[in-house]
Symmetry: C2
Subunit: 150 residues, 2 copies
C-alpha cells in the first residue's frame, strides 16, 4: 500500500467525495450519488470561502478519505480561533488501517497553522466506534451536540 497523501480538494474530486459521504450507515439515505448538481454548487461556495478547507486523502491516485475544516474566529476565551471538523469519512474498504488517525493529525496541524488553538467536532451519538477513535486521538467528549432542522 502506497503512502497516503492529504491535499485540498478540487472540482474533479466531487464524485469521489460524494461516494465517500454515501458510503456510510447514516450517509446512505441522505446523499444522492445519481445527481451531482447540488454538490457541484456547494463545492463552488466552499472553495471560494477562505475559512473552508475541504480535503481529500489519496493512496496511489485513489481517494480514500475526506473531511472539511472550518476556521471560526470568535471573542470567547480571550479571542480564541477554533477549527470545526465536519464530514470525516474513510472508504469502508480502508477502515481499520490507521488512515483516519493520519487524516485527523493532518487536519489538526492545518488548523494550528491557521491560528486555531482548539479543534472541535460532533459525532452522532450512535457512532460508538467513532467516539472511541476521537478519544484515542485525545479529544474530550465534553459537550452535547444539538441539531435543529429549519
Amino acid at each position: 500500500m502506497g503512502h497516503m497523501l492529504m491535499r485540498r480538494a478540487v472540482a474533479d474530486d466531487i464524485p469521489a467525495i460524494v461516494e465517500l459521504l454515501a458510503d456510510d450507515g447514516l450517509g446512505r439515505g441522505r446523499e444522492s450519488v445519481a445527481d451531482l448538481t447540488p454538490y457541484r454548487r456547494a463545492f463552488e461556495v466552499v472553495d471560494l470561502d477562505p475559512a473552508q478547507l475541504l480535503a481529500v486523502a489519496e493512496i496511489d491516485g485513489v481517494i480514500v478519505g475526506t473531511l472539511q475544516l472550518t476556521v471560526i474566529p470568535g471573542l470567547s476565551q480571550r479571542g480564541r480561533t477554533r477549527g470545526l471538523v465536519e464530514a470525516v469519512r474513510i472508504a469502508s474498504a480502508r477502515r481499520g488501517q490507521g488512515l483516519g488517525g493520519e487524516l485527523m493529525r493532518w487536519v489538526i496541524a492545518e488548523a494550528r497553522e491557521r491560528g486555531c488553538s482548539l479543534v472541535q467536532l460532533t459525532s452522532n451519538a450512535t457512532r460508538g466506534d467513532a467516539h472511541r477513535f476521537y478519544e484515542r486521538l485525545g479529544f474530550t467528549p465534553s459537550h452535547v451536540g444539538f441539531k435543529l432542522e429549519i
Copy 2:
C-alpha cells in the same frame, strides 16, 4: 421592561459582550475583562468575515445577551448549508424571562435567511438547564461534542 432589540454587534459593544462571556460559571475563569486587546483583535476578524454574525440583544439601551452565528457551506447532505451557533449568553440578572428563547428564534430566522437548513450548537455536558432550554426550542441532542486543545 422595554422591547428586546437584536442587532449585529459593533466595536463599541465589545466591553459589554466580554462582560456577558465572563458572567457565566464556565466563562469566569476563561475571560480577562481587564484587558480587552485580544477581544478587539478578534472582533475585527469576526466583523470582516461575511460568514460570521456576532449579535447582541439590548433592552432600553442595555446589552443583555449575545451569540455568534457562523454560516458553513458543505457538500454533505446534498450540499446543505448549516448554521453553527456559539457563545450564547444572557445576562445573569435577566435569565428566566424568556429572552434566550427570543434570541434563539431570531438567530434561527437569520440562519434561514442566509440559506441554512440546519442549525447546530454544542453545550457543555454540565449545563443541564441549557440542554432543557435547547430541547424546548426543538433541538435534538443527537450528537456528542468533542473538543481538543491544540
